[in-house]
Symmetry: C2
Subunit: 144 residues, 2 copies
């Protein structure tokens, strides 16, 4: 399961992407609307900013806004940033690969299956973006 951190990050990014205006969005506003503990949310947004997904502005009229287009932020990037590997085994991770102790990868049946799972997941997570989950990527039929 995704950590609360990542779950909150997705909620926050969706909320931001759904705003019509293009003023910066307040941490406090996101926190209230999405029921996310404010100090925790601060950390998360800061991390997203440092990774170059968001930008911020201090002082009155400040807040957070997108540094990259929501349509250019893959779900997989957010997950890797906050939760680390997407793969189920270290010997199958693209970004955090380490060899397994007891197993010879080239002939390990588990390795093969877990690679398939990884690829199947990534096929979705690398092509889905914040704009997609926010419902702002297509002409919008408002949600009933």
């Amino acid at each position: 399961m995704l950590s609360m951190k990542t779950q909150y990050a997705f909620q926050a990014l969706m909320y931001m992407a759904q705003q019509q205006h293009n003023r910066p969005v307040l941490i406090a506003e996101i926190s209230e609307q999405k029921l996310i503990p404010i100090k925790f949310l601060e950390n998360i947004l800061l991390q997203l900013r440092k990774a170059g997904l968001l930008e911020s502005k201090k002082g009155k009229g400040g807040g957070y806004y997108f540094a990259k287009q929501p349509a250019d932020i893959k779900l997989s990037s957010v997950m890797r940033l906050l939760d680390g590997p997407i793969a189920l085994l270290p010997c199958v991770s693209l970004n955090w690969y380490t060899k397994c102790k007891g197993c010879e990868e080239t002939c390990c049946g588990l390795n093969k299956v877990m690679k398939d799972v990884r690829d199947a997941s990534l096929a979705i997570l690398e092509t889905s973006t914040v704009a997609d989950i926010a419902g702002t990527s297509l002409a919008k039929t408002p949600c009933i």
Copy 2:
């Protein structure tokens, strides 16, 4: 990522399935061959036995053996048993469903994507078995 517990469980199950004889397999033997801390392995095998996957015999000549056929043990069962949910979000879990705080599922884009990821993963994990990963399900070309 899978916990060490689940990773060890897979190693142990593969090892057991690969034995040619049909005598019970010793905890100590699995532990040595697969480099798994023995006391930790005891717990894991016990858990697999209580769940009905394995059976055991005490005393001399004892050890663990399969209660179900390796070909009937899905990877998803082992994972659920030891690690819990396979889904990435609680609102998308088949076996441990809980509603998300801030979101209206029917119109949550994230929910939809994560359902797709779950289904893609399960398509593989529900059809792969211990026999598959042990390489004993087909006529065997020995691994080079």
